[in-house]
Symmetry: C2
DNA sequence: TTGGTCTCCTTACACTGTACAGTACAGCGT
DNA sequence: ACGCTGTACTGTACAGTGTAAGGAGACCAA
């Protein structure tokens, strides 16, 4: 008991931001309470003073990240506003890859998350959509962004990893051109459309186009 | 060493099907190689004779599940065929909830997975889409189904769990009606649109509608 | 009979989240 | 100034995890 860490070195905000740094630095999979405690100069159990368990900490980090989303730009027509919100969420997920896993693994909660939902729902209601259509559209857009961007992130990380790249190649080469002619024929296009803003906007514009003609 | 398990009790197919049963029974999160070995009457390390590691086993289970997807129904127009493929994948994910996590966590690979891609790409090419549009549309549809159905599964499991239900309620009640008027106003609709075939088809038809007008 | 290969076993290591109990300190009412 | 209580953090321990390393028995070819 020679050196004892002073009192009140910890608080929820510090824990969340430090946890976020670790998640982004070494990846969410190798994030552990022991590593977090080590970074904070504290034992792993100290975290439990502020969070009930690891999942609660995950929720807090997720909500913190959602707080970084800019508000909806005013004064544009609704398709541009919808585009802005969806692109913003995609950008945020790309800048913080752990956000994709945090969003996929647990149900939504938190103040900042509600703020984001409020923004998108407000746009849709102002555009004249009735309650049910606004809710349906919100869920559709959100799940599209989630699925498309998660996929993009995963593919990008697979292509960064040499082992993953080798796996992709051998997978492609093992496909018989007689059994899967279309896949083999479209291999270059498929490789090109596994991510990128262009691919994201393509699907987003399909949704918005469908919304336009439906209303 | 009184009783020794006989030789050749194991093979990849048996391991995959047994692993699948365990994942569906107790959930993918609590699946472990020790539990799998126990179910097979074998030590955990025996699995490594047939799979390089746990992720390789995941890939095999995923591909096995993809093999359960029925082929594309012939003789219909392309929107109905696209609907059939997407609905089929959703149904499969709902019947085997672990499939969602297996699809989200690792890149695609495997023979049966390629078969599914071949089916959808073939529909799109036959419908007259050019190579690039077919590839883009394929990726868009796939990521939409993945995101929407993963979300649906997660919300359903949250609503089954009493603790999760309580969490959802308190989250909703904690939202100030003055700060988040639209979210509070649309709470009933949002709760209704977190899943279900109707919600899934709504988004799917937006995409197909967008495709129709775009071409 | 010998040698090799295949299949499964045992042991061990470095981790994980977290339950439980203990300890030092701050601020309180008396 | 005293003792009490609550807070913040520590230490230890438990039940798990994936998997690396090496060993042992069974089969088969020579």
């Amino acid at each position: 008991m020679a050196t004892r860490t002073p009192r009140n070195t910890l608080n929820p905000e510090l824990i969340v931001t430090t946890a976020l740094e670790l998640m982004e630095g070494r990846g969410l999979d190798s994030f552990s309470l022991r590593a977090l405690g080590g970074e904070l100069g504290v034992g792993p159990m100290a975290i439990y003073t502020y969070f009930r368990n690891k999942d609660d900490l995950y929720d807090a980090v997720r909500d913190h990240l959602m707080g970084l989303l800019p508000p909806v730009p005013p004064g544009e027509d609704w398709p541009d506003q919808v585009r802005a919100v969806c692109r913003g969420l995609r950008r945020l997920m790309l800048q913080h890859p752990c956000l994709a896993q945090l969003l996929a693994g647990r149900p939504l909660s938190g103040h900042e998350t509600a703020r984001v939902a409020e923004g998108l729902l407000g746009v849709l209601r102002s555009a004249g959509f009735d309650k049910e259509t606004a809710a349906r559209t919100h869920t559709t857009l959100f799940t599209y962004v989630l699925g498309a961007t998660s996929w993009e992130i995963q593919m990008a990380s697979e292509q960064r990893d040499p082992e993953g790249l080798r796996r992709l190649r051998t997978t492609m080469e093992s496909l018989s051109a007689t059994e899967f002619p279309t896949v083999v024929e479209l291999a270059p296009e498929l490789a090109r459309t596994t991510g990128g803003e262009e691919q994201f906007d393509y699907g987003l514009d399909l949704l918005i186009g469908g919304l336009r003609t439906a209303s």
